[in-house]
Symmetry: C2
Subunit: 366 residues, 2 copies
Amino acid sequence: MTTSRRDFAKLAAIGLAANSLSSIPLLAQERKVGYCIIGLGRIADHHMRGIAQSSTSRVTALVSGHHDKAERIAAQYNVPKSSIYSYEDMDRIRNNKDIDAVIVCLPNSMHAEYTARSAKAGKHVLCEKPMCISVPEAEQMIAACKTANVKLMIAYRLHYEPITLKTIKLIRDGALGTVEAIQSANGFNIARGEWRSTHALGGGGPLMDVGIYSLNATRYLTGEEPGQFTAVATTPDHDGRFDGVEENLSWTMRFPSGVLAGCVTTYGAPMPGYYKVFGSKGWLEVGSFGYQNLRLQASYRAASGSAPTTIDETNNEPDPQQFVRQIDHFSHCIRDNRTPDTPGEEGLKDMQHIQSIYKAAGITLG
Amino acid sequence: MTTSRRDFAKLAAIGLAANSLSSIPLLAQERKVGYCIIGLGRIADHHMRGIAQSSTSRVTALVSGHHDKAERIAAQYNVPKSSIYSYEDMDRIRNNKDIDAVIVCLPNSMHAEYTARSAKAGKHVLCEKPMCISVPEAEQMIAACKTANVKLMIAYRLHYEPITLKTIKLIRDGALGTVEAIQSANGFNIARGEWRSTHALGGGGPLMDVGIYSLNATRYLTGEEPGQFTAVATTPDHDGRFDGVEENLSWTMRFPSGVLAGCVTTYGAPMPGYYKVFGSKGWLEVGSFGYQNLRLQASYRAASGSAPTTIDETNNEPDPQQFVRQIDHFSHCIRDNRTPDTPGEEGLKDMQHIQSIYKAAGITLG
């Protein structure tokens, strides 16, 4: 699971290596990068636990609509009470020198507004995926951060995960030969009353929320952008869970080299995330898209008739290690004035493709 | 792997149980059903080995363009030299009372002609999949067999395979709850010079040849016929292997209940066959579509929060047991004057759907 200097150079060439830097400790005398967490739901918890374990970063402020909850969490992460903000007064973070950056952990439809407000307050922004709920919003977020001269990173944590990086490297090194096709799935059976199943807050259905992992994977696996889309959406369960969003979506993307990617997502069934890549020399499969235990299985042959190389490897780093790697990357980018590996433009591309997929399914985005 | 009387009644109700009869031996004094094998390629070998192991059937004649090869195989299966025919004179099989039925093992584009000629000769027909290369051909084959009052069965061997039957029963019994989505793949990296990669003999590309397993699976898994199709085809390898047929095809089918099925097939990469079914209560996966060792894995919960039921079961019957089960079924149908579980109409439906898939991909069939 270690990455050699040579591997690093190769990965760097494809823009996917900066996470390797996470193992380089910041100089002891360097100040940790301070983060303000905006929204204190489930994903915020992962970020905060990751930050607590990182050597580069610390939680320095919270923004929440629930003051009691915020005080409890503040105590847990040694955040002073004076650094707890409400959504109404969060623009005051501008004056808090312990805040270098924010992490936007809000419902999708609020990402654009809070990214722009944070940028205006002079803070770098790490925003959860999906970046927002429309292409114009994504463009506005990028522009807002550019204008404010702050960095914008989208929390595509798997870009910093070793099994994922190893998989990408295998493909780039040609182990699978010519990649012909990809299949991927990711979904779950959503509980009643989640904000994610409303168009108003989610901006879309499972494609926006979890199907985006399959979409993003096809892009980092191929290194290409899809150019043709077909899609079909259905909502078989008429049980009131889905407020203007699809329950199931199946789509195909054609990439310029001819690779076809077929993906499916759902809010109606447990659907363990995975992808399979089929190349002329062999195949590989990675599951899941979860917070830990990503497993890579592969079988390929250097030449027809030669003995197959097989891989069965699991990243056993426990949660929240993915979040440690991710936050270390962003903190290094802030410290070293570098562009993150998953900048706003990466999120914008997914939003553009999501728009194309929804359009192919006859669904209007935003 | 045994099927109880009660299971049988349930399976019979869905038209998928007759294979269970294969375990009922024909009375000793009953004459074995005699088969004439038309075409002596790879698939014929599987059929003949299956027939040799069955208690119901025997090989009684051969049709081949290679007389030496036919004589060698005839000796192996105790077929008299007088029962070896060429393609030109095969209509003489009419006069051979040891031939009850034929098995059409020819390239796809020849299925229609040889089915019709066999029917005219008064012989029942077991025809390999794909049934033929166009919808009109399929209709003509059904009509020809009806006119001649002979049975027509398409060799969908998995309809007689225990893991497949168990999987279907699990779904019908509601173990997975509401089925939401299916994914499936099947393909391989084709060698240069195979008849299957020419439009003239194959009639189409991997969809016709191996993608049909995914298509047929989605139909027996759902018990429904797809009504909406999207598809994309590509041929990235310009190495002369593909004469007018696609290399890769990815397609989605929408079923009336709202189930979405996303499938992919290829002639350009090793692509182990499998399907995954995602339902509201859990998922299952079956791999492969091969001649042996089909494996069923499943995980589902009777109710939210209850302990999951898990299955990991492999059918260890060696090849050619699938062919024994299949031929026993057809021989019983002939003996008992019953309609096979996979009659011509089953093949026609796949041909209609293949036509729809190709049309969605912008490819004209036939």
